[in-house]
Symmetry: C2
Subunit: 207 residues, 2 copies
């Protein structure tokens, strides 16, 4: 069982929160709008609590479930409140044409978070290759990138508590390529593959 | 049935050639070393022919199966001999640490080929996310990127003749992210996933 805080009250916060509660984890919801956070906490049930935006999260794992351009500002605003936490970045910084990333250089939101977060916070990229409703309905593979093995292991255990398979792709630098895998996923959807009901996965032989 | 020319005499040339012959396609092998090309053609059987390096390929689809740093020089050397051809780039330009690409900017070998090839040649990225022995033993998904719908359709038909599923990810610019998917594949292998006997795939709900 993991202690999870989710920053955000949108669709991905709801979906991950729902699976987290079902998986027996404790969940806290933190939203800029405290009433929205309380509503989501109540909807999730299972003893889900509400935390104040910008204060120290109750969870050991903090899932930042915001639109990509709000992620680094939020982490910056939380600042030392994230000391010692495992921060999970699920964002997809698509460009306007959905065939590239919003940042031109070879970086990622996850790497930018790592620069903004306290030195003893650990960032893990996860969940970004999965459409929300596939995460609701199915058991998609969850790709992980991060520099700290213990942080990655704790996110991996959380992913397993959701009934999903964590797949380690390497260090945090690989978050750039996971963001690219998000671009591929949208590219497939835009070119006639799978009617959005699919996920990038790892298949092992024989197949 | 497709008419295929393969530039190269290495492992990927052999594997794609073997599947191409089995799929009922006509195959031509072109190698700098003509004797090696003739040996591979003989090994492939099924009427496989040998062509002279740098001359007009017999096939409509030309698979460049060289190490990545030899691809653009070879296409440049072929020059107008590739006029009207569909050129398939299967390369993986890994950096020295296998966690990024050899080119720093947001480009791809496929896009660089398009600059070097005749204006009426069409470039399609394909096959680069698949380990060779998985292509030998299994039926991995084949991701395609390219700007010309007809060229992509003809490569798609060739992929289907191999018993594999072509998946369109979008325009040639997406080749950059497919090269990134190659980096993810190696990252997974280097972090304990799948013992090399796996491939990135698309799974469709329910799962």
């Amino acid at each position: 069982m993991s202690h999870i805080s989710i920053i955000g009250t949108g669709n991905m916060a709801r979906t991950i929160g729902t699976r987290a509660v079902a998986g027996g984890n404790t969940v806290e919801i933190m939203g800029r709008d405290r009433a929205k956070a309380a509503d989501l906490a109540e909807a999730l049930g299972g003893g889900t609590t509400t935390g104040d935006w910008g204060t120290a999260p109750a969870g050991d794992i903090v899932v930042v479930a915001l639109l990509y351009d709000g992620v680094v500002p939020a982490v910056t605003q939380y600042g030392d409140a994230l000391a010692g936490k495992v921060v999970v970045d699920i964002s997809n910084p698509f460009n306007a044409t959905f065939d590239g990333l919003a940042h031109r250089e070879e970086t990622s939101i996850a790497q930018e978070i790592a620069k903004a977060a306290p030195a003893d916070a650990q960032v893990v990229k996860a969940f970004n290759t999965v459409f929300r409703h596939v995460l609701e309905k199915g058991r998609p593979d969850i790709f992980l990138a991060g520099d700290d093995p213990r942080a990655k292991a704790s996110v991996g255990a959380f992913v397993e508590s959701l009934g999903l398979r964590p797949l380690d792709v390497g260090g945090l630098k690989m978050a750039h390529w996971l963001e690219g895998a998000g671009v591929i996923t949208v590219g497939l959807a835009n070119h006639g593959v799978g009617n959005l009901d699919f996920a990038l996965s790892v298949r092992e032989l024989p197949f």
